[in-house]
Structures are given as C-alpha cells and as structure tokens.
C-alpha cells in the first residue's frame, strides 16, 4: 500500500513588509491564497480542505484565529486544521497538508501560513517571564547568540563569516519581488558596521519583523496532471522534536535536525546531499545559522560549514546556492517563514523563481526550525514525480 504522490501546483505570497496597514488579517491571508489558486488555475470550489499555520496567537492578539478566518479562506463546510509548532510551523503546516493528500483523505488541499507582526511586538511577546524557566532575554536573539558563540569557538570560524551570509542574503532579496527588505545600497562594509545587538550578532545579521502570508495548493497525481504549470513533487518530508533544555543537548547542531534531515534523505533516496541537492532554502534568522545548518543538514562535515559560506559556495551562482530568495534574513513573518522556505524550494524546481532562479535546479530542500532549536520540519521537492 503506497502513499499517493504529492504535487505542489500553486504558490502564492504577499509582498512582505513591516506593516500591512491596508488589510485586515483576513485580507492578508486571502491575498496569498488567491495568488496560489491563480497560479494553479483553480477556484475555491476545487479545494477539499484548508490547513493553516502560524506562530503564537499572541503575535496578533487573536486566539485560534482560524475560526475567524474560515470565511476568508473559503473553508466554510470544509475541514480546517490549525497547526502550531513554533518557528517550524510553516513547514509543519505544509507537511500536515501533504499527509492529507498522501493518505488519500483529500485530493486537493490549500495550505497557508501567516503572521501579521505589526499587530504586536514579537521580541517582547517572546520575552514574558515564566516562573522556573530560563528567560528568553529580549527575544530570540538573546537566546541564540550564545549558541553562535559556541559554534565559533568549536569550529574556529573567523568572525567575518556572519556578515558574508547577511550580505549575500540581502543581495539575493533584491532579486525577489516579494522579499521584505530591499536594501539597494547594501555593502559588506555596511553590514560589518551595523550596531551590535546580541554579540556576535549585528543588526544587519538579524531577521526583520514582517507582515506576510504564503500559500500553496497541494494535490494528488490526478490534480497534477491537470496543472497548467510544471508541478514540484514531494520526495520526502519529516518533522523531529527534542526538548528545549536538557543535560547534553547540543544547541549548535541538534540531534533532532540531523535525524530529520536523515529521514528526508532516506525517503528521497539521497545519499550525498551536497552533490545531489541543487538548492537549499533554510531557516536562517541570524546570519551564523547558515554555516551551522550546513553542517547539521549534512552539506558539510562538522566544523567545515563556514568554509562553504566563506568560499562562495552558497552564493546564488555558487555550487550549492542557499536562500536564493533572500531567506529569513530578508523576510520574516514568523509563522509563514517556514512555509516560504518550502514554497521557494518548490518554485526553484518548477523553474518559476524568476530573477533568483538557480539554473537547472531539479532537487531542492526546504527547511524550518523553531523553539529552542528543537522543532524541525523539512521537505525535499523535485521536478520529477517520485518513481515509487
């Protein structure tokens, strides 16, 4: 009894910005969903179910907002699921939707993730004091900076690497019309001279706070056969979780990330990710996470990730392009960020990434993580349908 192959036939995003004051939350999600349907040349009536994801409800101040969004997303009379797995949620949401197709519960599913961060302040929203727990210290940056330090100490990476990642991603974003930050006058010197926020992470090495939504239409073989544009086919998908804090936890290269990647590669028949994967969209909210994840995901040996970044391998025209879209460093509507990675990976293998297209990309990895480096979700998509 094999699984139904899952195809991505529609992708839609909003233009990500600091504050979408012109639309309600419903207006924001409907814009992305409408674009995904348009891309797939489908209508609301073709959708069997809706799977929606977002990060904490406190970011907009609406408890379980999917209830209120049912009408805007054409879900009335249909099943609607709401996923929340912290920062990895955009990826997890896509995987939950994909499972509905793979299990043959539904033929065509709309999946969407969003965040309208201008409704509140994410950094302080994440910094509520919780009794008996380690405080997050002024948001995610305060939590992750020491782990970046640990990476630098462990690998001996020169402290110039972080700025290289930021400089690359911000330049890539200039080629992506949907990216939030379009810094036309960006230079490496400007990144290096930006204020230090959480040592060693500088202002320009940090993700912005964005309003945005991303949607995808996932369908079965029959749906893919009717697709007006080339579909992206899912070859592997997995989620892994580990506790936030425990003795022996490796914050630099968490086991859950390694296991998740290994599961995806096994499903997709990948034995040498560095050679067999053409492009990667990974969740890099702070510059240094690019070399860290390169190692965690098996693209580089332990301690060697920064060398790929430093030597230009991860540039758009490099031999393993990473975050062609500009990544989380250029666009971060938190709940949607994971889905944007998944969708951008799919755009690449569909050959529809426009100016940030990697020539001849056949296989791409989408990656998301969240919580205290503890929740991981990934998928591998290909231009070819799976053979099994």
């Amino acid at each position: 009894m094999s699984k139904e192959p899952v195809a991505v036939v529609g992708i839609g995003q909003t233009k990500h910005v600091a504050a979408r004051r012109d639309v309600s939350i419903a207006g924001l999600v409907r814009e992305a969903a409408g674009r995904a349907l348009e891309d797939a040349e489908l209508t609301w009536a073709d959708i069997d179910a809706v799977v929606i994801g977002k990060a904490p409800d406190f970011f907009e101040g609406v408890m379980m907002p999917e209830l209120y969004l049912a009408d805007a997303l054409g879900a009335v009379g249909k099943p609607m699921l709401r996923v929340h797995t912290a920062g990895s949620v955009g990826g997890s949401t896509a995987l939950v939707a994909a499972n509905l197709v793979a299990a043959r519960v539904h033929g065509t599913v709309l999946t969407l993730a969003f965040e309208k961060q201008s409704e509140s302040n994410a950094m302080w929203g994440l910094s509520l004091p919780i009794p008996f727990q380690q405080p997050l210290l002024a948001g995610a940056g305060g939590f992750f900076a020491p782990h970046v330090r640990a990476y630098m100490r462990r690998t001996g990476a020169p402290d110039t690497v972080g700025a290289l990642v930021a400089y690359k991603d911000r330049r890539n974003a200039l080629k992506n019309p949907y990216a939030h930050l379009h810094e036309h006058d960006i230079t490496l010197e400007k990144v290096q001279a930006s204020p230090m926020l959480w040592d060693p992470i500088r202002y320009s090495e940090t993700c912005p706070s964005s309003d945005g939504a991303c949607a995808m239409v996932l369908t079965d073989r029959r749906g893919a056969a009717r697709s007006p544009r080339p579909p992206a086919w899912m070859h592997g998908g997995a989620m892994r979780s580990e506790p936030t804090l425990f003795a022996g936890k490796d914050f630099v290269s968490p086991q859950a990330g390694k296991d998740c990647a290994a599961d995806v590669y096994r499903q997709a028949g990948i034995t040498d990710p560095r050679r067999e994967i053409d492009a990667v969209e990974m969740y890099v909210p702070f510059s240094w996470y690019e070399p860290m994840w390169l190692e965690n995901l098996g693209f580089a040996e332990e301690g060697e990730g920064w060398k790929l970044t430093e030597s230009g391998v991860t540039e758009l025209d490099g031999d393993l392009p990473v975050n062609m879209s500009g990544g989380v460093l250029s666009t971060n509507p938190i709940g949607a960020s994971g889905m944007i990675r998944f969708a951008e990976a799919a755009l690449q293998v569909r050959g529809q990434a426009g100016e940030h297209q990697v020539d001849g990309a056949r296989r791409a990895l989408g990656h998301a993580y969240g919580g205290g480096s503890q929740f991981f979700s990934m998928w591998l998509v290909s231009a070819e349908p799976p053979t099994t």
Partner: protein, 349 residues
C-alpha cells in the same frame, strides 16, 4: 486507503476547578505514563506524537514546548502540535498512520482554565475587528443560541434542566468528573441559561494511543476501530448562521459514516445543555442512543482536552465491551462553529 486504525488506550486526569500547585507538565505526566503502561509501549516505541493545547489558556507563547518534557522526547521524536482541541490532534495522527509512516501514535491534550477568566479569554477567539472589541463572553453567546432554540420551539428550560441533571447523575460512575450527583440548577447566569446549564470550569489533561492493523490487536484486547472521522467548520459570524442547527456537525457525521448504521452510544462535546439539543438533532440521535454516559462536558470540561476525552470515553466503552458502535464528537469556536465526528466500532463479540 484501507488501513484500519484504532484507539487502543485512553487515560485522563481528574478534572479539577484549580490545579494551582501543578504545571501543565506535572498535570500531563501521569496520563502519559498511564496510556503507555496500558499498552506496554515506551516513548521510543511510538511512531508519531501529536498534541493539542492553547497558548491563550496558558497565558504564554509556545506553551506546548514545555509539555514536550512530559513526553521525554529524547532521542528526538516525530512530533506535531495543533492549536486546537486534542480531538484534532488525534485526526492529524490518524492521517499520519493512514500514510503508513507510523504504526502507533500518542495523542495528548491539556488545558488549565483556572488561572484566568475563561469566559473573557474565549472572547479573544472572535472576529478581532467587529466582535471581539465588544467582549461578548462564551456564556452570553451560548445563551443567544439557547434562546433561539426556545423561540423555535425545539426545547424549553425544564428540558434543558433535565439534560443537566441526567448528565450529572451519569457522572456518578465517572470518578474523573468534576460535577456529579445532585447539583442545584442555580440562578440564571445569562438568561435563559442557569448555572446548571453550563459546563463547570476546570483543568485537566487526557491521552490516547492509536495503533494500526495487527499492532492494534496486539496492544488491546478489543480495539476501538475508527471507522470514520471527519471535521467541518462553519462561517464565523453568528449573524449568518442558524444557531438552532449544526450543519457542520451533520456533514462531518455523514462523511464519517455515522448514518450508515445506528450507533448505540454517543459522547457529545456539549458544554451547554442547549448544545446537546442542537447536536442530538443534527446527528440524528434518538432516545435509543445512550448519550454521554460519562456525564459529558457538563460534568467535566477541561478546554482543549474535552473533545479528545469524548473520543477516549467512547473508545473505553468499546474496550470494556459496553458499546459496539459509538459516535464521538468534539467542538470548537462559538456556538458549535467547528465540529468533529468519529465513529468507533469494536470487533463482533
């Protein structure tokens, strides 16, 4: 896809008015241990884990991350979370097992309503632009629905009071219940709903183990096979809905195959007596069906877990041989906006 999947174990905490001295993890641990013990499984044997909870009840972002400590997610586990009642976590786990990626799943849910004013907290679920600023609380909205039912001639206050007293009398056999026995019907909370028409506010947690095919038969003497499960949502605005009906519950029941053969038992997630009236009609349950033998949500309603508990209670009756075909229902949102229906069956005896 024809993979058979069953509920093979169920556990729940006592539902208590307050659990000040316990964190969510401490509340959850005993039920997780309980379901694993029932099946002889260890965390590492579980193929997929899925939970349901709400940050708004916990009063903090990412509240579910700490609950993961109760599971013991090391080595790392395949895991997901829905910001919904645990019944929908069970639905996600069911699809995961259907794909063949896993043979067993651990599903859990928890909610502590005691730290805040849950009537006010639930107003934050409403349309944030047009309705939430008015803070219409959950009892007030249910009262609108109850009045619409009375106006339409579907019920009256004495009938609602009878639903309340039957539920709490049945809860006498449920040691986990918060309210049982003879409970005074009390004054109006919001007319026409009396105190007794409303579910008690309480804290609690529940867990279920699912297993596929032969694995289910190994783990449980009489598995509760999920013959069908489906969920549907309605429009959010109360003004466009007929509050005396629950078309989404009926559609979910139809898709789950509930109407193909009669059920002998139904566990309905009806936090207000009036909602039982709506659901009985929508789900076509006549007097031959044993409704809420556990006492239902009127006896214990730990928000985010109460729907999963309905599935667990229905399954447990099948496990014990007290039911052969049962319907379990979960709801979410104001006035039964979103509904899930599962149909469970035991092997013929």
């Amino acid at each position: 896809m024809t993979r058979e999947i069953a509920v093979v174990a169920f556990a729940q905490t006592d539902t208590l008015r307050t659990t000040e001295e316990q964190s969510e993890v401490e509340m959850l641990m005993p039920v997780l241990h309980d379901v694993l013990q029932q099946t002889g499984l260890k965390t590492a044997d579980i193929g997929f884990t899925c939970s349901g909870s709400s940050d708004y009840l916990a009063g903090r972002a990412f509240s579910f991350t700490m609950a993961l400590d109760g599971v013991g997610a090391w080595p790392p586990i395949s895991e997901s979370h829905v910001e919904m009642d645990g019944a929908w976590a069970l639905y996600e786990a069911w699809t995961k097992l259907l794909t063949g990626d896993a043979d067993t799943a651990l599903v859990y849910a928890y909610g502590k309503s005691s730290p805040g004013s849950v009537r006010d907290v639930l107003t934050r679920q409403l349309d944030p632009y047009y309705v939430a600023p008015l803070w219409p609380d959950s009892v007030a909205l249910a009262a609108l629905q109850a009045q619409a039912l009375i106006d339409a001639g579907h019920t009256d206050e004495p009938e609602l009071a009878a639903v309340a007293s039957r539920s709490r009398a049945d809860a006498l056999s449920n040691s986990r219940a918060q309210l049982s026995g003879s409970v005074p019907h009390g004054d109006y909370v919001v007319r026409p709903l009396h105190r007794g028409d409303c579910a008690p506010i309480g804290d609690g947690a529940a867990a279920v183990v699912l297993a596929a095919g032969e694995r289910a038969r190994e783990l449980c003497e009489r598995p509760a096979w999920i013959r069908g499960i489906d969920h549907r949502i309605e429009a959010h605005s109360l003004g466009v809905r007929d509050l005396t009906d629950a078309p989404s519950a009926r559609l979910a029941a139809e898709k789950a195959g509930a109407f193909e053969h009669p059920v002998d038992t139904a566990e309905l997630h009806a936090p207000f007596t009036s909602q039982e009236v709506v659901l009985r009609k929508a789900l076509r349950l006549d007097d031959s069906v044993r409704v809420n033998p556990s006492g239902g949500a009127l006896a214990a309603n730990p928000i985010m877990a109460a729907g999963l508990i309905r599935i667990g209670e229905a399954a447990a009756r099948i496990h014990r041989g007290e039911s052969d075909r049962a319907l379990a229902h979960a709801t979410s949102g104001p006035c039964l906006q979103q509904n899930l229906v599962a149909v469970l069956e035991g092997d013929p005896r």
